[in-house]
């Protein structure tokens, strides 16, 4: 493989993966913070307002890291993928520009007011700024997903005489069927992250015996949010994404399942794909289940990877297979954790179930892994294309930027992001240690 394209891919993959650790938390926390704020306003309950303030702070920290790591994403289309930008700028530049104009302005203007303007605004107006931030962050997500969706399933374009593409339908681009399911699936996934982080910190407060009341508030809201999000991830949205794959990227789907020959297909739960022998080593399977999931018929033939020309195969089948299986496996575990927590909450036993609180507390990193694996599934599945069916990845990178220069900046980003990671964990730890309620109030609460 030509090394320059590999380094440019690593460059984008690394910076995008690191970036998305932060927006998934902000987008996931946003509806939960609005929920807390709404309950506080509705019931005039200061405990919920305290909780909203605390979680808005966590949101704010993650937001700053999301902003600073997000700016390089837009730049990299031009710096590292200039031939792709030249080719597709007329279409995807549109959604990126709309993100800046409609979403970022909204978020940036109202986040300051939401975090620091509580005393300058009426209660209702302050609630409104929270809703505006929620709306802005979710809108931003839509424009990015619509951009990616066009690369996964290009629609509403025509090719100009110079070989580049131009838009033919604005609403066609925004309402790309791929974008709608991908967005729903992605936002549900982000809300899983938000819920698990909130539940985890809530569980920590209860287990450590301090800020118990705030811990209970966080757990209650996060468990309910988590159940809804987990159901949505698996149910309509995951299924919708699957049907998109069946319709538009059947080769990617076959590779994700490591399904090589066209026949009735088992669903592989565990096992290592062996592309040379076209088999799975050490398989643990549900017989015929993939046939059923694909067509609702247990005995149907599912098209295997071998039936596609090898030039259409995703370039890294093993990693794609693992990414997909990690995502699905973790999604199933999340459903179990949230359902058991929901039952215990309903029975009023959640706050005493220490074993379950331990599990909740320790699961916070898992949704990050699942969301990352999900995006890896989408983008590795898109290979060998940059724009599916239209432009190959090897044609899109900046030919004028050598592998050595790309290495230089990749190493720079590795160093910079190591620093940012340490700082993020440090600042977050301090906020958690301080907790939602001031020490004096906390002391009063203990009495």
């Amino acid at each position: 493989m030509d090394s320059a394209v590999l380094i440019h891919r690593l460059h984008f993959a690394f910076t995008a993966t690191f970036h998305y650790l932060f927006p998934q938390l902000t987008m996931g926390l946003a509806p939960l913070v609005v929920a807390l704020k709404t309950i506080g306003l509705w019931k005039n309950d200061e405990r919920y307002n305290n909780a909203a303030r605390f979680w808005a702070k966590i949101f704010g920290i993650s937001f700053v890291f999301g902003v600073v790591t997000g700016i390089p994403m837009e730049f990299q289309f031009g710096t590292n993928w200039s031939h792709f930008s030249r080719f597709a700028g007329g279409v995807i530049g549109q959604t990126l520009a709309m993100e800046g104009t409609f979403a970022f302005f909204l978020e940036s203007a109202f986040l300051g007011l939401f975090l620091y303007g509580e005393k300058r605004l009426s209660k209702l107006a302050h609630w409104g700024t929270g809703v505006a931030v929620f709306f802005g962050s979710w809108l931003s997500g839509y424009f990015i997903v619509a951009t990616d969706a066009w690369m996964q399933h290009p629609v509403a374009y025509s090719v100009l005489p110079d070989g580049s593409v131009t838009l033919t339908s604005f609403w066609g681009l925004l309402l790309n069927p791929w974008a709608i399911w991908q967005y729903a699936h992605n936002m549900a996934g982000a809300t899983v992250t938000g819920s698990f982080v909130m539940a985890s910190i809530g569980a920590y407060y209860i287990l450590s015996g301090r800020q118990k009341e705030q811990g209970a508030i966080a757990l209650r809201v996060a468990v309910i949010g988590g159940i809804i999000a987990c159901l949505l991830v698996i149910g309509p949205t995951g299924d919708g994404q699957g049907r998109n794959l069946v319709a538009y990227q059947p080769a990617a789907l076959a590779a994700m399942e490591a399904h090589f020959d066209t026949r009735t297909a088992d669903l592989v739960i565990l096992g290592q794909p062996n592309p040379e022998n076209k088999t799975i080593d050490n398989p643990l399977v549900i017989p015929k289940a993939l046939s059923f999931l694909s067509t609702r018929d247990w005995n149907s033939q599912v098209r295997g990877l071998s039936s596609f020309p090898e030039t259409e195969w995703p370039t890294n089948i093993s990693l794609l297979y693992y990414a997909y299986h990690i995502m699905v496996g973790l999604g199933t575990i999340f459903m179990l954790i949230t359902l058991v927590s929901g039952i215990q909450l309903w029975r009023n036993k959640l706050f005493e179930s220490r074993w379950l609180l331990w599990i909740i507390m320790l699961s916070a990193p898992l949704p990050y892994i699942a969301n990352t694996a999900g995006w890896m599934t989408a983008e590795l599945g898109r290979q060998p294309y940059l724009v599916y069916g239209l432009m190959r990845t090897v044609s899109g990178f900046s030919k004028s930027v050598s592998a050595a220069n790309a290495w230089f900046t990749l190493l720079g980003f590795l160093g910079m992001y190591t620093l940012l990671s340490i700082l993020f964990l440090f600042v977050l730890q301090r906020e958690i240690a301080q907790g939602p309620v001031e020490d004096a109030a906390h002391a009063a609460e203990v009495k």
Binding site: V68, G89, F105, A109, G112, K119, R120, T168, S402
Partner: protein, 351 residues
């Protein structure tokens, strides 16, 4: 098509000017942070004066970049890949600056505060120089090939010639001009937003640096004419354009006069006008070229870089709606945080 091209050229220039004027004052204030803020309270005031607005200001950069991307894909592709190394460094500086600014007040410890002060202030200062050097590169011209691409090393022999680097004597001069201009703009902003010793110190800074800026502006104008005599062609064709450099000097004098008379808001407005007019002066000279090549036949122009048809029509429609809404947010935001900053009213930055 000529009109469409002119329209988008103007839209992008105006968005860029708004970015420079808005982010310019928070970058300038950041670069002055270490020197003007003598006590912890003063430094907290500086941070607090830009805290609620810097992010919104920076969004103008992203929004401008996005519009540039879909209107002139070739320009986006050529310039971003050609300026690969300096752009990556700008990204790192933007990150460091934002982290220093946001987390200085998150951690209540003077060792950390000093660390973040330096990160924030030095990051801002270098950013101003990089922006100036970038502008200098565009005015000087770039080694574009027949395929419309180029790649610039950071420096070669520091001379303006056939094989330039990002940094040569001319672009470094531009960097210094922009740094001093943003320092004046930042000082003017701090005069408006603070009181007491800090206010006086910022005012003195503005009064001292404005004459320096006047000299530097004249020197860079002379340097530009020396390396690029043809740059006045548009001015000679349409002589009304000469009003722009004239107004540049009027606005510079305005800063000084109004700062003397303690009309701080008017001084700040003149500083903003100076930056906007400098940019207008440059794009007036370049039009219809958007990325000048050293060999003029390879220059990117509006005509050979613009995308076509429906993309531009539909883009204009949502852009107008979006920008009106965005301007509304800004009016609201700046009204909410108007007046001098105090550390007493609580809530966030500086507490």
């Amino acid at each position: 098509m000529v009109f469409t091209g002119f329209l988008w050229f103007s839209i992008i220039s105006v968005m860029l000017a708004i970015y420079v004027v808005l982010d310019g004052f928070d970058i300038g204030a950041g670069a002055l942070h270490l020197f003007l803020g003598r006590t912890d309270a003063e430094r907290r005031k500086i941070i607090k004066s830009i805290g609620p607005v810097w992010d919104g200001n920076e969004v103008w950069l992203l929004a401008t970049g996005g519009v540039l991307y879909f209107v002139f894909p070739q320009l986006y592709a050529s310039s971003f890949s050609g300026f690969y190394l300096p752009l990556m460094m700008v990204l790192w500086l933007l990150m460091l600056r934002a982290i220093g600014l946001e987390f200085r007040t998150h951690i209540n410890d003077h060792i950390w505060a000093s660390f973040f002060d330096v990160i924030f202030s030095v990051g801002s200062l270098l950013l101003a120089i990089f922006y100036g050097a970038a502008l200098g590169n565009i005015v000087r011209g770039l080694p574009l090939g027949p395929d419309h691409y180029f790649f610039l090393p950071l420096w070669t022999n520091w001379n303006v010639g056939a094989h330039p680097g990002v940094l040569d004597w001319y672009t470094v001069l531009s960097g210094v001009v922009v740094l001093v201009a943003l320092l004046v703009h930042g000082a003017n902003y701090l005069v408006c937003k603070t009181d007491g010793d800090l206010h006086e110190r910022a005012r003195t800074t503005s009064l001292v640096l404005t004459p320096v800026l006047l000299v530097l502006t004249l020197v860079s104008l002379a340097a530009t004419l020396a390396i690029h005599p043809g740059i006045v062609a548009n001015y000679n064709t349409l002589k009304i354009g000469y009003i722009v450099p004239l107004l540049v000097f009027v606005s510079l004098i305005g800063i000084f006069v109004f700062q003397q008379a303690r009309k701080e808001v008017l001084a700040f407005v003149c500083g903003g006008l100076y930056l906007a007019l400098m940019l207008v002066g440059a794009v007036y000279a370049l039009y219809p070229v958007i990325l000048p090549a050293i060999d003029p036949q390879y220059s990117l122009t509006i005509a050979n870089s613009i995308t076509s048809g429906y993309t531009l029509q539909v883009g204009l429609r949502w852009w107008i709606i979006g920008i009106v809404i965005a301007l509304g947010y800004f009016v609201f935001l700046y009204r909410m945080f108007r007046g001098k900053v105090t550390l007493e009213d609580g809530g966030g930055y500086g507490d």
